[in-house]
């Protein structure tokens, strides 16, 4: 693991560099993108972002869990969880393969 952590600030900077908008506006657009994705997921809808991956909401039924510290059994309530399924392109990029749509990054 290399130590660097990318945050919202870096995403805003990337948007600022790419599109001719002010830093403030770039920041609010990054926020808006995340908000739209979040709202969609909150409604239980899947969000598919081509060449990146998809965010899927799954419903989990009630099950019995165990408190790892005390070993006590406790019921885990039904809940919704979100999973990220990376696209094949994302997986390839992470493994250092150049992908045809590399151009997109330029």
């Amino acid at each position: 693991m290399s130590g660097k952590t990318v945050t919202r600030a870096d995403l805003c900077e990337a948007v600022y560099q790419k599109v001719g908008l002010s830093r403030t506006e770039s920041a609010s657009l990054v926020e808006l993108v995340l908000k739209e994705i979040t709202d969609c997921l909150e409604r239980g809808e899947t969000v598919k972002l081509s060449s990146f991956g998809s965010f899927v909401v799954r419903k989990k039924g009630q099950r019995i869990g165990r408190n790892p510290k005390t070993g006590k059994e406790v019921p885990i309530s039904p809940r919704r969880v979100m999973v990220f399924k990376p696209s094949a392109i994302l997986k390839q990029r992470i493994n250092g393969h150049n992908v045809a749509d590399e151009v997109e990054r330029a």
Binding site: T46, R79, V83
Partner: protein, 108 residues
């Protein structure tokens, strides 16, 4: 929702931007995340979640059909961990109980 729909929704709220600009914005964000992960970096978006990369060592696998041994090279896989606020929001609606405070793993 797919990427083009996301672009349309954002464009609708920002009438002064061309749809093409909005596309560039969305792509810039996704490319920044991808680029960071391809360097092994972590991307942390508070309230949303965190993207990180996990390394899988080389192993000997089996072809499930023939049972033959095959060597699987080491690889890195993208991993996403849902943020705290996102987890809570997913469970606010439709009578799902909120996740109990006790399950806690770090959090973001």
């Amino acid at each position: 929702m797919i990427k083009s729909e996301l672009v349309q929704r954002i464009a609708a709220q920002n009438p002064h931007l061309y749809q093409r600009d909005v596309e560039n914005i969305v792509n810039a964000i996704l490319n920044e995340i991808t680029g960071a992960m391809s360097q092994g970096d972590r991307v942390e978006l508070r309230g949303f979640g965190a993207f990180s990369v996990k390394h899988r060592p080389a192993r000997t696998g089996r072809n499930p059909r023939t049972g033959a041994h095959v060597s699987v090279e080491q690889k890195s896989v993208p991993f996403f961990k849902t943020g705290k606020e996102m987890r809570e929001r997913l469970n606010k609606l439709d009578g799902h109980a909120a996740p109990d405070a006790g399950d806690d793993d770090s959090d973001d």
